[in-house]
Amino acid sequence: MRLREETTLSGIEMAAILISTVIGVAILPFPLFAVRGAGTGAGMLTLMAIGITLIGLLSVIALGLRFPGQSIIQYGAQIIGRPAAAMLNALLIVFYIVLTASAAREFGTVVVTSVLKQTPIEATVIIMLLIAAISARKDLRTFANIHLFYTPIILMPVLLIVCLSFQNAEPLYLLPIFDHTPQILSSLLTITAMFQGFFIITLLIPHMRQQSKAWVSGLSGLGVAGALYLLIITSTVAVFGAEEVKELLYPTLELAKATNLPANIMERLDAAFISVWVTAVFTTLFSNYYFAVHALKQWLGTRDHRLFVFFLLPFLMLIAMLPENVLQMYEGIALIARGGFVLTVLCPVLLLAIAVIRGKRGAADAH
């Protein structure tokens, strides 16, 4: 006999998973995309992206509560029938595999361009994927533990850097709040893509101790992560000005470079920031990987998710290595962002609408 406890997630764990999943690789370059798209209105653009994500999040939670004890992989068939659901599931799984690979690639690119200039990109990508793979073999309890543990570790230093950077801020740079630029729609999708990680909640709602708390956890998780993104974009624009940000590849990293701790403990904070960012990337990769293997497990109806973990690894590595350069990579990421918008926002909204119209709902005592 082993001492085992049944795995249930508390509300705080749920929120932590959302926060650390949503905060990911994108925090480094996203001010650039936002400013390119909306100029000084970058903050507003981010806010709009959060709003769009909110729609997706609320429909996923509503669906989760409508079909207790099931994830989107399982209740999809009930709403739109088996063949359509099978296609949706396959798309979701492929999407998550590509998402994981692209995040790993983006991470590798940043590390190779800004920290370890002589290390081959394959090395950094494979290390990160391996760590995520090893963790993805673990059970849900460990999954929750890891996210809960890292969330404050990610939040605190980023907040500290942002707060310290405000001493160099020039509020005038933030105006006008609404700037008119032509590309606002396409960059809105790119910014929305940063929040796609919220979708993991569909796997987790069935495991919540009190499912009704999903609303609070979901909203507070997205709220905290969104607030952090807003703070970063505001401080970057306030410190550098919109025109300057357009010239920087990784504006957030530059922000950390420009900031120094009081009392001269550290001359600049970019390396410290990189280490926090590595942690944030790890949690995001871990969540996406976890989603991919668990979605596969639920779809194929196997008992164990672990056999998929190392099976997926070579494919992830292959996909991560597909783009030949940074430009191709960001083109790919923009494509993924559009697909992600359809799969994680439009699909849940449609599914919810169909479920309501057809009057489908899960068995009340399924949990």
Binding site: M1, S10, L116, E267, R268
Partner: protein, 516 residues
């Protein structure tokens, strides 16, 4: 007694012989009984077989092992067996059963005397230091305890020194150790369960717990794991620890050990289980989570501000001992721009004559520190002083003067080493000391990024492992806010009141309160 009429059976070893006769009842005939005893025990010269007549008329034999027995007590008892009481008529002939009752109830002055009827019990009792008296025709034997084993005095434990608090330490004898616990816990809730472990040593292992506080599932799990141990000899508590821990390949200890009875009692009151092993002064405490390894009983004995302050200092020391050298390597060789300019100049100046890259330098110094530390533990105290002087001079002064290491490196290594000694639990400090080396290596390869990767791997491992069902990092993760009152800080005792930390966090799953 002469043992020349020994029957030796060439085919069976003593253990097999014992197993063969274990279930048989004692033969009524004394000569048969002695024959079996001699067959099993062979020619051990400390086995004493003394034949005599009870009340001067009933033939009997006394068996004991003289190296285990208090001679005085056996002599006195021999007298009470032999002396014919005045009220017993000189001519009556008692039957075996009547004789047994007379002896047990009227003439033998012993509180602890019982009857054994199986040969296996008889031999085992004999080997455990009991004295056996067998009577012709009875088919049973009397057994009483007159055990005397040399033991050392109760001293202050060397591994856990305290400034304030109890100074008693456990010793090797199980019964003394149990009495040290029992006198602190005069309550019927304190329960002791004794198992025997070890094919040859038959070591008694006592599982101590508080009924009503400890989780019954935990108690039965501990018992199952201990009973499942198959080993020829158990010579120390460490043997038990290695069999009952959850993750054998983890560098982190999942069982805590202590030499202090007060610490054992404190843990019993928190619902943990204390396992005492005969022959070892170390008590094992399960389940053990990471937080416990930087806590001491002294934190509770002193005022809470003092206790909290010292505890936080230990946590910092712990973190230092793990990451300081690797961070140093990473910053010096990959990100020197992080350190303030004036200091960077000083560091560069110090490293001017050093031919190696910084991670080789740090590795060499770390390894020589480990060698010094190991040497100073094994040496007698008189030589130890000389060694530490040589160590300080060689490692500190001369290495720098010889251009072997930079002064900053020496400072870093010194802080790290001192930090690893500030952890009260030797085994936990050891885990972090071991992990320091891979961290230095990966820092030398990948810089700050490498250190972060290493730390993520360590943290993920810590977040995965459990000790007897307890997540290793609880109450930090999974969050249990009530447990935080006695984690990194030590809240005032009136807030802690009934020492809730472990009991509450055990039920973290089904308790909504305090979990947010």
């Amino acid at each position: 007694m002469s043992n020349d009429k020994l029957q030796t059976s060439p085919n069976l070893n003593p253990e097999q012989l014992l197993a063969r006769y274990a279930g048989e009842s004692c033969p009524a005939s004394l000569s048969q009984l002695l024959e079996i005893v001699r067959l099993i025990m062979g020619s051990s010269d400390d086995l004493v077989i003394r034949t005599f007549y009870i009340y001067g008329r009933y033939e009997a034999v006394m068996l004991y092992i003289n190296s285990l027995v208090n001679q005085q007590i056996t002599d006195q008892q021999l007298q009470s067996f032999m002396t014919l009481p005045e009220w017993l008529s000189g001519t009556d002939k008692l039957g075996p059963e009547a004789l047994k009752q007379t002896l047990l109830n009227k003439t033998v002055h012993l509180s602890e005397i019982t009857v054994v009827s199986r040969m296996g019990d008889l031999i085992n009792m004999l080997l455990n230091g009991k004295t056996i008296v067998a009577v012709e025709g009875l088919g049973e034997a009397f057994k009483f305890g007159a055990r005397k084993i040399e033991q050392r005095a109760i001293e202050q434990p060397q591994t856990e020194q305290v400034v304030q608090g109890a100074r008693e330490g456990f010793i090797e004898q199980l019964h003394t150790n149990l009495s040290l616990l029992r006198y602190r816990l005069p309550t019927p809730s304190f329960r002791i369960l004794i198992c025997e472990v070890g094919e040859y040593t038959k070591t008694s292992v006592a599982i101590c717990y508080m009924e009503g506080i400890a989780d019954p599932k935990l108690v039965s799990e501990a018992e199952n794991r201990i009973r499942a141990i198959r080993l020829d000899g158990v010579l120390d508590a460490g043997y038990i620890e290695q069999f009952i821990e959850d993750h054998h390949y983890s560098p982190f200890p999942q069982v805590m050990n202590t030499e202090k009875p007060d610490k054992a009692v404190a843990n019993l009151l928190e619902g943990r289980i204390v396992i005492l092993t005969d022959g070892s002064p170390f008590a094992l405490i399960i389940p053990a989570v990471f937080g416990q390894f930087f806590q001491t009983t002294e934190d509770y004995a002193t005022r809470f501000l003092q206790g909290s302050f010292v505890r936080m200092a230990r946590v910092i020391a712990l973190v230092f001992s793990l990451v300081f050298p690797s961070l140093y390597v990473a910053i010096i060789s990959f990100n020197p721009e992080l350190i303030p300019t004036e200091f960077a100049v000083a560091v560069a100046g110090g490293r001017a004559g050093v031919p190696f890259p910084s991670f080789v330098e740090v590795l060499i110094m770390e390894i020589s520190m480990e060698v010094l530390r190991e040497a100073s533990i094994r040496l007698p105290q008189q030589v130890g002083g000389a060694l530490s002087i040589v160590g300080v001079l060689v490692v500190g002064q001369s290495a720098v003067a010889a251009g072997f290491a930079s002064p900053i490196t020496v400072v870093v290594i010194a802080l790290t080493t001192i930090g690893s000694f500030a952890t009260p639990a030797y085994n936990a400090a050891f885990a972090l000391r071991m992990l320091r080396f891979p961290l230095i290596l990966i820092a030398g390869m990948l810089g700050v990024y490498g250190v972060v990767i290493g730390l993520i791997l360590i943290a993920n491992h810590l977040l995965t492992i459990k000790s007897f069902g307890m997540p290793y990092l609880s109450p930090a993760v999974p969050v249990h806010f009530r447990g935080w009152r006695d984690f990194l800080i030590r809240a005032p005792l009136w807030i802690l009141k009934k020492k809730p930390s472990y009991r509450q966090s055990r039920r973290y799953e089904d308790k909504e309160e305090g979990t947010a």
